[in-house]
């Protein structure tokens, strides 16, 4: 019996008429202790899938179950590493993790909680930065804090949303090895979202492509039968690795039904709320208001190829 299971899950956003169907008919089942990577195009709906497993949003149709219980809300049994780190900027590294530990193990003695926090800071090699604020850390360090926070919650399942997305290749490789080591130490169930097939194959037991959106769906699973510990250099010449990579990439390329390429551009808007002066204000109606950053995350431009 599957540990985490998605059945016929679909999800769209927006009101009728201008509805954006993001995910359609997703089926997925993951065993306990398994490391699964999901790889897909930017904007395909990977974060949406992750948020559904985390319980932050709900599927329009279908069910998401963990241990046969439907996921209705977020909970500490699922540790999430968000795509954009999501550290609280006014708390230090230590305090960010302590907040989580304090919340999840309220009955522990203070000394035990402190020790627990220190242990996980050590695990991601951040002890020297323990009292720094997130703004004083590099991107990679923030990612590691985020990973440490999720691990310190001792969740049953770890959800990693492009945890290494923003990093340069070298740091990325180091952190991949770190994730691999941590997984082998803890043997937690892990769902890793990534846009890099190599990363997925290198780390996971199983890699599943997500087709291009809209109406993205999961493709066939590719079992990665490569011995652990895996060697980063040797693996590039491993025929199994090469075959899986070719299959995954082929599948992703052929998955674009229409011959359009979705180019997604991140929009970073200033966090202010300007008023649209060209719109005359109704006396009692709502203020004419532009959409805020939290509403418009990406801009999509479709081009013929």
């Amino acid at each position: 019996m599957a540990f985490l299971e998605l059945k016929n899950v679909s999800k769209g956003f927006g009101p009728k008429g201008q509805r954006n169907e993001v995910l359609k008919d997703l089926n997925l089942s993951i065993e306990k202790g398994e490391f699964v990577a999901i790889v897909g195009y930017s904007g395909a709906g990977k974060s949406t899938l992750m948020n559904m497993i985390a319980g932050l949003i709900h599927p329009d149709t279908g069910t998401v179950t963990l241990n046969d219980l439907e996921i209705k809300e977020p909970g500490p049994d699922r540790g999430v590493v968000f795509q954009n780190y999501s550290l609280l900027p006014w708390l230090s590294v230590y305090e960010n993790i302590y907040l989580a530990v304090d919340q999840i193990f309220p009955n522990w003695a203070v000394a035990k909680k402190q020790q627990h926090v220190e242990r996980y800071i050590g695990m991601v090699n951040l002890t020297p930065a323990r009292d720094k604020k997130p703004s004083e850390l590099s991107g990679g360090m923030r990612q590691r804090v985020s990973v440490a926070r999720a691990l310190a919650m001792d969740p049953q399942i770890l959800l990693l949303d492009e945890p290494l997305g923003a990093l340069d290749a070298l740091t990325r490789a180091t952190l991949q090895d770190e994730i691999s080591r941590i997984w082998q130490e803890n043997k937690k169930t892990v769902v890793l979202i990534t846009n890099d097939p190599d990363e997925g194959i290198y780390l996971a037991d199983r890699i599943i492509p997500l087709t291009a959106g809209p109406n993205a769906t999961l493709g066939p699973s590719f079992q990665v039968d490569i011995e652990r510990p895996r060697d980063r250099k040797a693996i590039n010449h491993d025929p199994v690795f090469k075959r899986i990579r070719r299959d995954v990439v082929d599948f992703l390329l052929s998955s674009r039904q229409q011959r359009t390429a979705a180019v997604t551009k991140k929009l970073v808007l200033p966090d202010i709320e300007p008023e649209d002066l060209s719109v005359t204000r109704e006396l009692f109606g709502p203020k004419p208001r532009p959409r805020r950053r939290s509403e418009v995350k990406v801009e999509k431009v479709e081009v013929e190829v």
């Binding site: 985390a54 319980g55 932050l56 809300e73 977020p74 909970g75 500490p76 699922r78 540790g79 999430v80 968000f82 954009n84 999501s86 609280l88 900027p89 006014w90 907040l99 989580a100 919340q103 999840i104 604020k133 703004s135 919650m153 966090d271 709320e273 006396l283 009692f284 709502p286 203020k287 805020r292 950053r293 939290s294």
Partner: protein, 279 residues
């Protein structure tokens, strides 16, 4: 112009000198009219704005208030800093009432769309009302308080005028809390109270302090109007009293003092504000 050494000091000084010079040129001067035998027949003021005291007259007549800033010669005859202190105490009280009411109100506005829709027209209508209009209403409201009525009316006016920037900035700040932070709170299952104290308030603080700073500016602006109408001792009350007594020199002294205090308060608040911005 190229920056040069000490330009931060010299340029403002030149600016001040130009303004003071223009004032002195425009201001009136006392002329003594004598008859043929050299007896003083009359004194009259001449100049572009004859009634406006010039720099020298202003200084001489302000001297007792400046040189003995803490003197207490009578209720409406005190050193300038003593008056300022009285005004500051009143402003502080009114300002804290404004923050005490404005901050939670702003939070509710930020959290609830329905509440915003319900109160937005009221706020938009009340916000531009001048302190001069609020004060009489305050007098009416606190009619029962007898001797304290004018004090309470002044507090009421300061509080209600100074409240709006805090209310509106806090509301904007709450609406601008990034979804990421709220997601963290949800994933950790923080209680409502902890979400408020550990996530929402810290995330809103920079906006709140911008509101606090603007509110303080308004509170200080309102003090003069409040003191004028109530006749309370303070810089504003003193200014109005001297005007009525036809002693124009001290009006300028009061204006300078009010401006200076307002400037210092704003500087102090921006220091505090900046501390929270970086956090």
């Amino acid at each position: 112009m190229k920056p040069f050494k000490l330009d931060w000091l010299i340029l403002p000084l030149i600016g001040a000198l130009v303004v003071i010079g223009a004032w002195h040129l425009l201001a009136g001067k006392k002329v003594v009219v004598k008859d043929a035998e050299g007896n003083v027949t009359s004194e009259e003021r001449v100049g572009a704005i004859a009634a406006l005291p010039n720099v020298k007259e202003t200084w001489e007549s302000s001297k007792p208030y400046v040189m003995e800033p803490f003197a207490h010669r009578g209720e409406l005859d005190q050193g300038i800093l003593r008056f300022t202190w009285l005004s500051l105490i009143l402003v502080a009280k009114g300002y804290f009432i404004a923050l005490l009411i404005g901050t939670p109100l702003g939070f509710f506005l930020g959290l609830s769309k329905a509440f915003t829709k319900m109160t937005d027209p009221i706020i938009q209508v009340l916000r531009p009302v001048s302190p001069l209009a609020w004060l009489p209403l305050g007098m009416v409201l606190f009619l029962g308080a007898g001797k304290n009525a004018s004090d309470l009316a002044a507090l009421f006016t300061i509080a209600i005028c100074a409240m709006w920037p805090t209310v509106l900035n806090t509301a904007v700040g709450v609406r601008a809390i990034p979804q990421d932070y709220l997601n963290v709170a949800k994933v950790l299952k923080l209680s409502r109270w902890k979400t408020l104290t550990k996530v929402m308030i810290p995330a809103t603080l920079p906006y709140m302090f911008t509101g606090f700073r603007l509110s303080l500016g308004i509170a200080w602006l309102v003090i003069v109007a409040a003191e004028m109408l109530t006749g309370r001792p303070g810089v504003g009350g003193f200014l109005w009293q001297q005007y009525n007594a036809l002693i124009y020199e001290q009006i300028i002294l009061c204006i300078l003092m009010i401006g200076l205090v307002g400037f210092v308060l704003d500087r102090l608040m921006s220091v505090v504000e900046r501390r929270f911005k970086t956090a």
